[in-house]
Symmetry: C2
Subunit: 148 residues, 2 copies
Amino acid sequence: MKIEQELQTGKFRNEQHKASLNIMFTAYVLHRSVAAALKPFGITPEQYNVLRILNGKRADKLCVKDIAGRMIERSSNVPRILDRLENKALVSRERSPEDGRESLIGITPKGIELVENMTEAVEKNAHVLALTDSEAWTLNELLDKSRG
Amino acid sequence: MKIEQELQTGKFRNEQHKASLNIMFTAYVLHRSVAAALKPFGITPEQYNVLRILNGKRADKLCVKDIAGRMIERSSNVPRILDRLENKALVSRERSPEDGRESLIGITPKGIELVENMTEAVEKNAHVLALTDSEAWTLNELLDKSRG
DNA sequence: GCACAATAAATGTATATACATGTATGTAAA
DNA sequence: TTTACATACATGTATATACATTTATTGTGC
């Protein structure tokens, strides 16, 4: 469905403004889709992203700012997301011996197992962009360029 | 900057997956930019969207679900956003005489003035996609198609 | 007319973001 | 060495989203 129909309006200042709303709306749809795929696991997309980042760096433990730098939302919320994951025994947290200000975060075996199951569910159930490889490539180019 | 650099990773399942993360990251950047432009007014992007929708339909009052249907996030949060706008005397809310379940929402003169000032600030200060008209058009086509 | 389902909105709870602030630790300059 | 500043993280508050539930009203079938 076209963005005009989705937002029930045709009032866009220009093609760029329309594209801005289109990006935000499409992001919302994607987020909803991932959230739905993760719901049976009781994990939010943000918590899943943290687990995926930790799983991808299983060898070396990461500190909070390393995780934040790899997330879509560079929020100050990572400590609280880690609180919830720690409560579920999916991650471990310890003080860094080299720098006492840093926390070293690792994924637990339970976390690894869960993240693998969740990734399977997301790949199977979440919305995949209905684009050819070539279209997706063009989209990536345009988005990278759009951020200026 | 390319999305690989932004998220400090090259691990994408495919070009579509990469584009999904790219869309969500770009949406986040745009949202931040609008939020920053609105900050001096003490209004959030979501509150601004509601005001813009009401301002665009100044003639006929809208009910809550009309507003929700025009928003990017079709959340159940509209009543609470309206609470905040009503507290600031930017919108009015009354029971519909035709259907007692509905609220009729209108924008106040104070709201109209504010939304016009804010629109000016957003157009001046918020990030505009660094794309040509033709590129923005292609981006819109790809996004519309991507949602399937 | 009345019981029951559907609809519109509001509300409660958990989690997330934004921003300001607090606390501990590290680093560098006086 | 002591003071000042910076860094990393944690925390508090306001606002937002997701989802379930509640309340009020409307519409429908009997």
